[in-house]
């Protein structure tokens, strides 16, 4: 027997309250039918006996206290999954919007996923060659890693993400192909369009699943978007052994949607009004990256987030940084100088890098070179701040060398063209070439044996 509950008791933002509901369960999906014949979906988020609180995915616009019939579906939020999903364009809650019809499901996946057993994880070790010197040499991306791009409005994070997708090569490709899951959350139409066009241009559209929740789409749907995207990614990676790269943009919009939803539920706010469970919520997304035993596939995440006011201590980048395995930070001042990609290497980090590089992966001296570049570039910053006080002319000869090194590093190493695909060898050699600007005694992070082999002083 299917019961329809007529009317609702209370409407507050995206939440509706029903009373006298029997037999519902937590997180169950309900169908809400309006008088005009349209249906909307919602999810039960709180229950007190027979009083239930439902979160409506589309907006509550047009819903009145009497004009609805609500029906329990008896299912949690699930998503139809099949290999055919590759190449499709879906909305934020996983429904096709490309006019090619419904997806015939091979199985249904609960979008909340279940946590991976830490024992069943495989520690990620294989690096992904992105062809971008800074990333490959200093912030190496590893298959199964979650490595966000911390950016700001107006910076070239989208270009960088596209370039990574286009150039990414996996060192030993033993899975069955490579695919991209692209989740847009609250992004402008132009941005979604830019990605779509770029994917088409490189002819990779048939390897991409796009989930689009644009800036004017409902925020509740935005909360579901990354969950749906990751459900697709996990399915393709762990059941079809594919190497899946998930790009999620913009995580800040996602967090703001969560804040909006939380405040309409009347929850106690934490820092900057974000709900106290923001960390756990973000973790439940980011932790869905990785590799597991018994499958050759992997889920690699590149979330993109814009830091409001370029503030890295804002709760969203801050909590993200605590969960993800490093970060790629973009710098407005580098972008201002025309450097592309404007990666600020000092605060950038890849935590999994140390085990995925070196002998057998890239080159034996890779870690030492990276340490030395970081350390030397940190001294460049000191020298520059001194120069800004006493003037560059007054600097000691060694500090002047550092200034020279810093400029060369930014102009030649960090800077590369959007279409330039550098091999790892090229990048490492370039690193050594630039270190040649500095006298050998300044290179204190590298063993003498390695210096003997690679260090060549730059000719004056």
């Amino acid at each position: 027997m299917v019961l329809d509950y007529v009317g609702v008791k209370e409407i507050n933002g995206s939440l509706i309250v029903l009373d006298g509901v029997k037999g519902a369960f937590n997180e169950e999906i309900v169908d809400i039918r309006l008088e005009n014949g349209t249906t909307r979906q919602g999810r039960i988020v709180q229950m007190d006996g027979e009083r239930i609180v439902v979160q409506v995915f589309e907006s509550t616009k047009g819903i009145s206290l009497v004009n609805t019939k609500t029906r329990l579906t008896g299912r949690p939020m699930e998503m139809p999954l099949s290999k055919e999903i590759i190449g499709r364009i879906l909305n934020g809650s996983g429904k096709p919007i490309d006019g090619l019809g419904d997806i015939y499901p091979e199985k249904l996946g609960n979008i909340n996923g279940t946590p991976m057993n830490p024992v069943s994880r495989v520690y990620p070790k294989n690096y992904i060659n992105t062809g971008i010197s800074t990333i490959d040499t200093l912030i190496t991306l590893i298959r199964g890693q979650k490595l966000p791009i911390f950016s700001g409005s107006g910076m070239k994070h989208n270009e960088l993400a596209v370039q990574i997708v286009r150039q990414a090569k996996i060192a030993d490709d033993d899975g069955k192909g490579f695919c991209v899951v692209f989740a847009a959350m609250g992004v402008k139409n132009d941005v979604a369009d830019y990605f779509k066009r770029s994917f088409e241009e490189f002819g990779v559209m048939n390897r991409v699943v796009m989930l689009l929740n644009l800036a004017n789409d409902p925020i509740i749907e935005r909360i579901l978007t990354p969950k749906c995207a990751l459900t697709v990614a996990e399915y393709l990676a762990f059941e079809h052994d594919m190497q899946v790269l998930v790009i999620m943009t913009d995580m800040t919009s996602y967090a703001e949607a969560l804040r909006e939803f939380s405040s309409s539920k009347g929850e106690i706010p934490g820092r900057k009004g974000f709900p106290g469970y923001l960390y756990s919520d973000l973790a439940s997304l980011y932790e869905r990256a990785g590799m597991v035993k018994g499958s050759r596939g992997s889920v690699t995440q590149i979330p993109i987030l814009t830091m409001p006011n370029d503030d890295i201590t804002h709760p969203v980048p801050d909590l993200t940084g605590y969960i993800t395995e490093g970060q790629i930070v973009l710098s407005r001042s580098l972008q201002g100088q025309g450097v592309y990609p404007p990666i600020d290497v000092l605060p950038s980090l890849s935590r999994l890098m140390k085990d995925g590089i070196g002998e057998g992966y890239t080159r034996a001296e890779h870690q030492d070179l990276a340490n030395q570049l970081f350390s030397s570039y940190a001294k460049v910053i000191d020298a520059r701040s001194l120069a800004s006080v006493i003037g560059a002319e007054e600097l000691s000869p060694i500090d002047k060398k550092y200034l020279e090194f810093g400029d060369a590093f930014e102009k030649r190493f960090v800077n590369q063209s959007f279409t330039e695909n550098r091999s790892i060898e090229q990048s490492l050699d370039l690193g050594w070439e630039l270190l040649g600007i500095l006298p050998r005694s300044e290179l204190d992070r590298v063993d003498d044996a390695i210096l003997d082999k690679f260090y060549k002083p730059a000719s004056e």
């Binding site: 279940t114 057993n117 106290g276 605060p347 992070r445």
Partner: protein, 590 residues
């Protein structure tokens, strides 16, 4: 049963039951058809509030809630070592086997410890023996290096009425029976249960006068911690908290390591699992896992179990302490635990204090850290629990409540510094803002074991670093060139100390662990070079000439160039310094 207790309301991990009288505070309960584990956290006349340790999707009002009559507890017995548990002592490897899935499904019921495995038990008591709480009645080899000593539970004492012979027994087999003073008989098996939020009793606490040797120079010399001490490692993301914790877990001289991954990354836990299997403990020659227990409650696992994981960890540590072992707990990270408190407190609609954290945050933190200590156990043995907690301050701002409150209850504060981490100076412990309160307790030990000069060298090193710090204020404004030579010498020596001594390479075979003796000789050599150079400068020999000899650069690399087992090489270094500087002096005056 007629008056069955059923779920009334559900809000995230919090479940309420109406009009029940059958529960007690902190009681462990089973919720719903899948028997999810939960704990009673609030009782009022008409409503019982329960936090559930698993995902609540699919629960219904009307589902049964069954009490266990006991507080949230863990099983203590052989099989803990070399195992990996979640926050409420469920064995993750066994769950993987049982469920056949790489994901953690809900309501999986697996005993905490292997109940089928046979242990080689040696019963150490005989009929008629009087046993009191904490006495050993059986021993067995748990791993190759850890002897498990089975203890009389702290609540029990009496006379042995029967014992089994030595042999192979399972976890729940009775090996002895004792009769308490009221005449009741109790079966003693190989295990006991203990509530995780109650500290295990001890005879008395002992002074913290033995250091925990970590092999990390900046800690052992400048910021030492004692066995049974407490330390906080605060640092923003990427500052190296986890790396530091891993290094300590690998190399510190505790007998047993409990590593709690509390709300942290899944990949990090698999890294620990893999690395510790491959690493060999220098003392025993066995894999590190033989002395390690992992508690993994990653950030995406249920938040209530994250709150429990810290207590589970310290209870396991106390149990091994009671056997007479030195245990060290690495809690990574206590901030995630505090956030779990905040999250649950928010769901209970409690009045928040600072930054949304509940007002009882400081008391919970102090309860936890006070469970550390070096003690005399009930059985008269000496053991210790050292707690090293990582703190992840929001926005790397040390003034936030978790860091500030932790600072009050720990005696070592190893502050990680972003700018050091950016320059890849690891461990990125800032020597200026960090402190250790254990110097007065530990100095007698250092004096006895390493000699008075160890303390002298350390003080000199600290003084040079202090002086450099104040000089750098000037250098930042006007550059180093204008300083007189004696101050430049301070800066140059401090550079050697920072790069050659404080910075330590965790990936270098020799440098990852350095014995105290080498640490002392390194300090000695640096101080020697400093003092001889100072003498030369006093005789108007320019510093640039001294530096051009390359001695300072040589000392920055001695951590790599001198193997740990060749301390005699330091003599040669000193000789070389003396000769080179002497000849400079002679050349100058001829």
């Amino acid at each position: 049963m007629d008056n069955k207790d059923v779920i009334f309301g559900i809000n995230g991990p919090v479940v309420t039951v109406k009009d029940s009288r059958s529960f007690s505070m902190m009681e462990m309960v089973y919720v719903g058809q899948q028997r999810l584990v939960g704990e009673v956290i609030r009782l009022s006349g008409d409503e019982t509030t329960i936090q559930v340790y698993e995902e609540t999707t699919g629960l219904k009002p009307g589902d049964a809630v069954v009490g266990t009559g006991e507080p949230m507890n863990v099983v203590l017995g052989p099989g803990i070592m070399d195992n990996i548990f979640d926050g409420i002592e469920r064995p993750l490897a066994a769950i993987e086997e049982e469920s056949g899935s790489v994901f953690i499904s809900r309501g999986v019921s697996v005993p905490s410890l292997d109940e089928k495995r046979l242990w080689d038990v040696h019963v150490t008591v005989k009929k008629g023996d009087k046993l009191s709480a904490g006495d050993i009645y059986a021993t067995l080899p748990e791993t190759r290096i850890i002897e498990h000593r089975v203890l009389v539970p702290p609540t029990l004492s009496g006379e042995v009425v029967s014992v089994k012979p030595d042999g192979k027994y399972r976890l729940n087999d009775t090996v002895a029976v004792i009769r308490d003073h009221s005449g009741a008989e109790h079966n003693l098996t190989l295990c006991q249960r203990w509530p995780i939020k109650t500290p295990r009793p001890v005879n008395k606490k002992l002074p913290a006068d033995i250091p925990l040797i970590t092999g990390q120079r900046v800690i052992d010399t400048l910021l030492p911690i004692s066995k049974g001490g407490t330390a906080a490692i605060p640092g923003g993301f990427g500052a190296g908290k986890t790396m530091t914790q891993h290094q300590l877990a690998k190399w510190c001289d505790a007998d047993i390591i409990i590593y709690i991954g509390c709300g942290e990354r899944g990949n990090e836990m698999s890294q620990v699992l893999q690395e510790f299997k491959e690493l060999v403990d220098p003392k025993s020659g066995r894999p590190m896992t033989d002395r390690t227990v992992l508690i993994a409650n990653t950030s995406n696992m249920p938040v209530a179990a994250r709150e429990a994981s810290i207590y589970t960890g310290i209870t396991l540590a106390e149990y091994y302490r009671d056997m007479g072992y030195h245990c060290a707990i690495m809690a990574d990270s206590t901030s995630r635990w505090a956030e779990a408190l905040r999250e649950i407190s928010g769901r209970l609609e409690e009045m928040p204090a600072e930054e949304g954290f509940p007002a009882y945050l400081p008391s919970r933190l102090s309860d936890f850290y006070e469970r550390a200590g070096r003690v005399e156990t009930l059985g008269g043995k000496q053991g210790s629990v050292t707690v090293i907690g990582a703190v992840s301050p929001q926005g790397a701002d040390f003034s936030e409540p978790v860091t500030q409150n932790t600072k009050r209850f720990t005696r070592c504060f190893w502050a990680l510094d972003k700018s050091l981490a950016y320059a890849r100076h690891y461990p990125a412990i800032n020597w200026m803002t960090s402190y250790s309160e254990y110097f007065t307790d530990l100095d007698p030990w250092f004096e006895k074991e390493q000699g008075r000069d160890f303390i002298d060298f350390r003080n000199k090193i600290t003084a040079i670093l202090q002086e450099e710090n104040s000089l750098m204020e000037i250098v930042k404004l006007i550059g180093a060139d204008v300083l007189p030579d004696d101050q430049k010498l301070i800066i140059e020596t401090a550079r050697v100390i920072r790069v050659g001594f404080l910075q330590q390479n965790a990936f270098h075979k020799e440098d990852t662990f350095v014995p105290l003796e080498k640490q002392k000789l390194m300090m000695k050599t640096i101080i020697h070079l400093y003092e001889v150079s100072k003498g030369l400068i006093a005789r108007n020999i320019p510093l640039s000439r001294i530096i051009s000899l390359g001695l300072f650069d040589k000392l920055t690399k001695m951590k790599y160039d001198i193997p740990n087992n060749k301390p005699e090489m330091f003599k040669e270094y000193e000789k070389e310094i003396d000769e080179a500087l002497n000849s400079t002096l002679t050349a100058e005056f001829n």
